[in-house]
Amino acid sequence: MSIQAQLRDTLFRAADELGRPEPPPTVRAMGMLVLSRRRRRRRAAALSAGLAAVLVAVAVPVGLSVLQSDGADERAAAPSRIPPADIFGAPPRGSLAADAAFVEAIRQLPWAWPDAGPGDGEMRLPDPPLETRSVVFAGDVTGGRWALVVGQNTAQPTGNAADGYLLTDIGALSDTAGAWFVGPPGAAPEQMLLATIPRGIPANLPASLHDAATGALVLVAAPDDVIEVSPRPEVAADGTVSRTFRDTNSTDGVAVIALDANPYQGGMPAPAYRVTRRGVEVIELNPDTYSDPDGEQPPGIALNYLRPPAYSLPEGAASGQEQRLAAEVLASFGLRAGQVGFDVHYVGAVPGVSGAAAELTVLSATFPSGAVRTTAFWLQSIPETPGVYGAGGFCTESITSVGVPAAQQVLAMRCDIGNDAREAPAPVSTLVVIAPVELGAATAAAQGGSDTGEVHLADGGVGMIEFPDGAQSVLIQAADGMVLDEVPIRSYSAGSIRVDPDNP
């Protein structure tokens, strides 16, 4: 029998073994509708997780946040899940609420966002008619004076743009739009400036704003809501990350809190809040963020370079990815620079798509508990336009328990380098192995896949090869062949490479 006939027989007999599977309810039209709604919710969560990578490639103005929980379609889908509340219809709250002249002047402030163009639908911003506007919060906070104004959402998407699948701002369908105004301590109304991009906000979910540089955090919920805050996530010695929420003892559904100030920004903000309404948890989320565009630049973070950086992008050291990654750790975990030890394992070239220059930065952060967070981030430039990056994403972002010091660890990771463009070439997959320099001329043999691959670590303990199909770990061998270690290959499952079956 020919191999073709054998193969055909094998495939058909394997399929016959299944019999005739019956379709479960989940794959029928009603099941698909349920899945579609669930997908939108998960998409919102994924968007928040992927925000750091997006920030590199796209200029996302501060204040534009997609983290504001479910939108109008969600409320329509499950009206009983979140107890209704009219958060923004209540009288003004906050320490300046009784100052009628101030409140009225704030209500009349223009909503024009300085960078907004003429708008073609996608970029159209709400500008509520004055008669629909009201001040929800006005008060003094640490380092300034803040106000939240709401009004009619005049920029609800229409047509295809109203498809929940296409929406990135999930409050966009709401009838209500909101904007925060910020001024210096004791600011007069005319000193209060639009601080966040006006956008639709769900009327039954809290609004929030946080300035890491001052530590100010304001949460505006319904008057009877219970507001709890967690200042930052805790990383335990075993690598687990947890949070402790404490009741803010808020009055009238408003919490004005002074957290520890942190000059660094990036990634997810360290604080999180949780709101409970009539015994039902309404939301647990990180707050929206604001930063003073004229604020001081934070000082550089002390980094321990385990090998000399070899900057490969046209900007050289100016790309500064290791500083950015370190700042993200401090900002998203709410820690001071001296509390975290940073080791830079590698800064240098990695194979890019179609020969384009790409740079990989691998950084470890050792937390006070001793747990180690390793981040590997790649960036690919567009050759014709230095300073503009075609894409960026993570090879790994993982936390390991106390054990081998970061500088002594052998790291093996898969880097899938590509971009999101629909017509883009297939991603380039590379196995990257980084070992301590002291190891000398060693090799790393890929294990577990159908293809074998051997990485030579002669050049300062770093080696790369095309990713061997199916490889799961690497075996580290000294020059004399002695097996030293076997380490798993790390990867990043929610990276910026989005291989979307919907766009084959």
Binding site: M1, I3, Q4, Q6, L7, R8, D9, T10, L11, F12, R13, A14, A15, E17, L18, R20, P21, E22, P23, T26, V27, R28, A29, M30, M32, L35, S36, R38, R39, R42, R43, A46, Y165, R414, D416, P427, S429, G449, S450, F467, D469, G470, A471, Q472, P488, I489, S491, S493, V499, D500, P501, D502, P504
Partner: protein, 204 residues
Amino acid sequence: MTSSAADSGSVHEQFDAFVTRRYAALVRFGYVLTGDRAGAEDLVQTALFLSFRRWARLADPADPVAYVRRTMVNAQISWSRRLSSRERLLAEPTEAEEYTSGGHEDGREVERLYLWSQLGSLPVRMRAVLVLRFYEDLSEAETANVLGCSVGTVKSQTSRGLARLRRTLADADPEPASFPESARPAAAQPAVSGSMSAGMENLE
């Protein structure tokens, strides 16, 4: 009933009719594509979900099996890229009993099981080419269309895939007792986990 609601009802009915008619065939196709029943069901669910969302725009909404099949192949390739570090299921547990209860006396049956297990060692795109060519009986041009590659690529992938399987069979002794341990399906394998079971989660 408004016209849009009526349209919606019609689309839903059309979709459900398609699912009833094609589900079994799609799962069987998914199974030979992945080697894993749970993975096949995940794959079909994903493809149906993506098709459902654009049902009204499909060229053949009455029976868009070609579109769904193409979506399944692309989803499988995408997942394998993202989940390549996970364990892979090499064979179905149900076959173990057959293997150990006398089936091994039939050399052809053992060869078939061995061939099935070795399909799991092929790169996912190569396996897809072989499945489309020898299970779906698509032409080289049709296979190229599904995979979005050239006919030349289909030719070379087919040739290499068959050569690899032929070599694997030739390297193994046809006597059942001499076949590598890895050929023993399922129960003889150590840890086995569904590589595709997280498929929907990743898609979402």
